[in-house]
């Protein structure tokens, strides 16, 4: 369902969406013709499994909708950086995806941008609030982009007095690789290799959202066996990600055996991935139309997962009975339900703040409609709630894999998927970290013309600072771990 709106009608439509109890999902821009730019807004309405889209040509001044839907703030800044569209009345009209110093004559997504031109690498300081003033009570601690240990690159600015953090400002997008433009000109099948490499630990979720977008554009019907196996793969991915999460969370609360146990269980899960698919990241299987080859999980996978499940249950019981661990999690990094909704939190983060939303149940895909996933929700909004949601999700993932494997019957795993020229579609999946969207547009030769990726970490990085302002340094690492963020998916 797509509606064409004039720029002056956008604000009214955005307010109506609020009143209808709907939810804005994302916004992006693309060029239907080399000289014609179009904005897209993707929204969900309660009770509807399909998403609706607004189209808008930025002929006149486009108003910023960040005052009505605060989560749109980052999407608008991204569009300004990459396409050059200005949004009137934006509350933070600053660079986001491209760093200060990376100015070019035309923005990188402009059709006139020379394909081989690399952004200048000169570094400029980002704009920061004027807090560390002459009084000198407020200190500024810059941390990153190269951080301790093996971590992804990102820069974090702390304004603090003693132990107390007054203001926290992350600077991301050091890892921006311009991946969305890399899709342009590829065939539908080739695109999946890229999708698997946007966020390594979300390979399946990305490939799945991409494939489902292409399949919708092509009107392709994926065989039942492939749908069930896709659920198995997606839940195996959730499993190793969530196990990693607990190992890292225990690391931040200095629970040494807990850290070792979580990381060991993650390793065992990755070794199961290898045995099932040949890849520790479950790659090289998904393809538009189904799977590249059949898998054989029957007779061993469920029993091996049961053994892992038993170990996880003991591990979870230990964590939940350790006061020193719980003391650090409870009331730490509290995210209010209203802030979570307004700023666009997603996945276990929003479900830990009492928002009952999961694409697997609300907008079913693959075989989830038949498998009735149970969605875990907690109301406290603190680090402990986010951890408890993930604990319940591990249990449910194992249950979903068991139910999917039980239903497997022989049959093909790949159907034809012929993309029609000039078609477009939206695909989505609930990744281990939350909602993931792919919008794909094809050109007149059925090659990819534009791919927009909305990763869950793009949403949650936007939210995260709201739980850091006005807290203290000792809680920071625990809070960050409790969000379970990745940077690669956000930066793209």
């Amino acid at each position: 369902m797509t509606a064409l709106l004039r720029p002056e009608a956008l604000k009214g439509a955005a307010s109506e969406l609020v009143e209808a109890g709907g939810r804005m999902q994302m916004a992006y821009a693309w060029y239907p013709e080399p000289d014609r730019l179009e904005l897209r807004y993707v929204a969900g309405l309660p009770g509807e499994t399909a998403f609706s889209q607004w189209r808008c040509r930025p002929e006149a001044d486009v108003p910023s909708l960040a005052g009505i839907w605060p989560l749109l703030s980052w999407y608008e800044r991204e569009i300004t950086d990459l396409f050059g569209v200005q949004f009137a009345g934006h509350p933070q009209p600053r660079r986001l995806v491209l760093h200060e110093g990376a100015e070019t004559e035309v923005p990188p997504f402009d059709p006139r941008y020379p394909p081989d031109q690399r952004l200048p690498a000169r570094r400029k300081k980002q704009r920061v609030p004027d807090l560390a003033g002459a009084e000198a009570d407020v200190q500024l601690l810059p941390f990153g982009p190269v951080r301790a240990d093996v971590l992804e690159s990102g820069e974090f600015l702390f304004f603090y007095v003693g132990e107390a953090i007054l203001h926290f400002q992350p600077r991301l997008f050091f890892k921006h690789r311009g991946m969305e433009r890399r899709f342009e000109g590829l065939g539908a099948d080739q695109g999946v290799v890229l999708a698997e490499r946007i966020s390594g630990v979300g390979s399946v979720a990305h490939a799945l959202a991409y494939c489902q977008a292409v399949e919708t554009a092509a009107g392709s019907e994926v065989p039942v066996r492939a749908r069930l196996l896709r659920v198995v793969l997606a839940e195996m991915e959730r499993l190793y990600n969530h196990l990693h999460y607990f190992g890292y969370l225990c690391h931040t609360t200095t629970l040494k055996v807990g850290e070792a146990e979580g990381k060991l269980l993650e390793e065992r899960a990755k070794q199961l991935n290898t045995r099932l698919t040949g890849s520790r990241f479950l790659r090289s299987l998904l393809i538009p139309g189904g799977l590249r080859r059949d898998l054989d999980p029957q007779g061993w996978l469920v029993s091996d997962l049961e053994a892992l499940h038993e170990k996880f249950s003991a591990y979870a019981r230990h964590m939940e009975a350790t006061d020193s661990h719980l003391d650090r999690l409870m009331t730490t990094g509290k995210l209010d339900q209203r802030v979570a909704f307004d700023q666009g939190a997603t996945g276990p983060v929003e479900r830990g703040s009492g928002i009952d939303r999961d694409l697997r149940r609300d907008h079913p895909y693959a075989a989830y409609g038949a498998l009735s996933p149970v969605v875990a929700v907690r109301g406290e909004g603190d680090a402990h709630a986010r951890a408890r949601v993930r604990m319940a999700e591990i249990e449910e993932s194992i249950g979903l894999i068991r139910r999917a494997v039980e239903r497997l019957s022989d049959g093909p795993v790949r159907a034809d998927c012929d993309v029609k020229p000039d078609s477009e579609a939206l695909g989505w999946s609930e990744s281990p970290r939350g909602t993931l969207f792919y919008a794909v547009h094809f050109d007149s030769e059925a090659k990819l013309k534009r791919v927009k990726i909305k990763s869950p970490s793009f949403s949650n990085w936007r939210v995260f600072p709201f739980t850091v302002h006005d807290t203290n340094m000792m809680d920071y690492a625990i809070n960050e771990a409790s969000f379970g963020l990745t940077i690669a998916g956000c930066d793209r």
Binding site: P120, D149, S153, G178, R197, G200, V257, T274, R275
Partner: protein
């Protein structure tokens, strides 16, 4: 009352005996880089080169003898093995691809002896300290680097440690294609290391740019950015491959791949 100590003890020893002794390296079922069997290759076929998304396989004019495979560009996507009609480009379990010279990753007809025998770095008799920099990876390589310190691989027992400060590091591990924004922080980290210092490119992105090469924000890996002492392609290389490459750097295990050929 939680019994963490008991929970740990009841697990028994979880660390793999490999690589110090024969035993499980944790990679059962792993599908690695494709292996080329020229005797099966058909004339006038270039299905593998057409299927390769990173131009790791290229065909010069004049038939099958003109096939070049650059494993430094391979992202292990298996599209060539699926496209090959004759089984010449076959899926394999080859993963130990750490090499000292870039040309050892290139398969060419008659190129078996591509590299002169290189004696490696001055042997470290004691511990090795490494520092990692993410120069724009997809987080797959980080996931595997983080796995090195889990109980199964337990990198510490081999005398290899991650260090927080580049000043304390002997070896820099770089992942990612080197984005425009990470170019300067990467160079600054390298400059902060005391000499002698070494660099290892981890993953195909760091070796050549991989799938993320070119475009407005991405680079070609470490080529022309830093001097590289060990190249380890893979997408991502598994933890065992990283351990083998580190041990090879330390002259504690031989280099497996020469002239693009995988030695047993």
């Amino acid at each position: 009352m939680p019994q963490w100590t008991l929970l740990g003890l009841l697990q028994g020893k979880q660390t793999a005996p490999w690589p110090l002794r024969q035993g499980d390296d944790g990679q059962r079922g792993f599908i690695g880089m494709p292996r080329y069997h020229p005797e099966l290759c058909e004339e006038d076929c270039k299905a593998c080169a057409d299927a390769c998304p990173t131009k790791a396989i290229t065909m010069r004019e004049g038939g099958k003898d003109r096939l070049d495979i650059d494993y430094g560009r391979c992202i292990v996507c298996q599209l060539c093995t699926e496209a090959c009609p004759s089984g010449a480009m076959a899926a394999s379990g080859d993963w130990a691809f750490g090499v000292r010279q870039r040309q050892d990753l290139v398969w060419r007809e008659g190129g078996e002896a591509a590299s002169a025998e290189t004696v490696g770095q001055p042997g470290f008799r004691r511990s090795l300290h490494v520092r990692h920099v993410d120069a724009g990876s997809c987080n797959g390589c980080e996931s595997e680097l983080q796995a090195l310190n889990n109980a199964f691989y337990n990198l510490h027992r081999l005398g290899i440690f991650f260090t927080a400060s580049p000043r304390a590091a002997d070896l820099l591990l770089v992942t990612g294609p080197v984005t425009y924004a990470m170019l300067e922080p990467l160079r600054a980290t390298f400059e902060a290391m005391a000499e002698p210092r070494w660099v290892m490119a981890i993953g195909t992105c760091a070796v050549s740019g991989g799938i993320a090469e070119d475009g407005y924000a991405s680079g070609h890996g470490l080529e022309g950015v830093l001097p590289v002492d060990v190249y380890l392609p893979g997408c991502p290389p598994n933890p065992a491959a990283i351990i083998e490459a580190l041990l090879m750097f330390l002259n504690r295990t031989p280099q497996r791949v020469k002239g693009g050929r995988y030695g047993e």
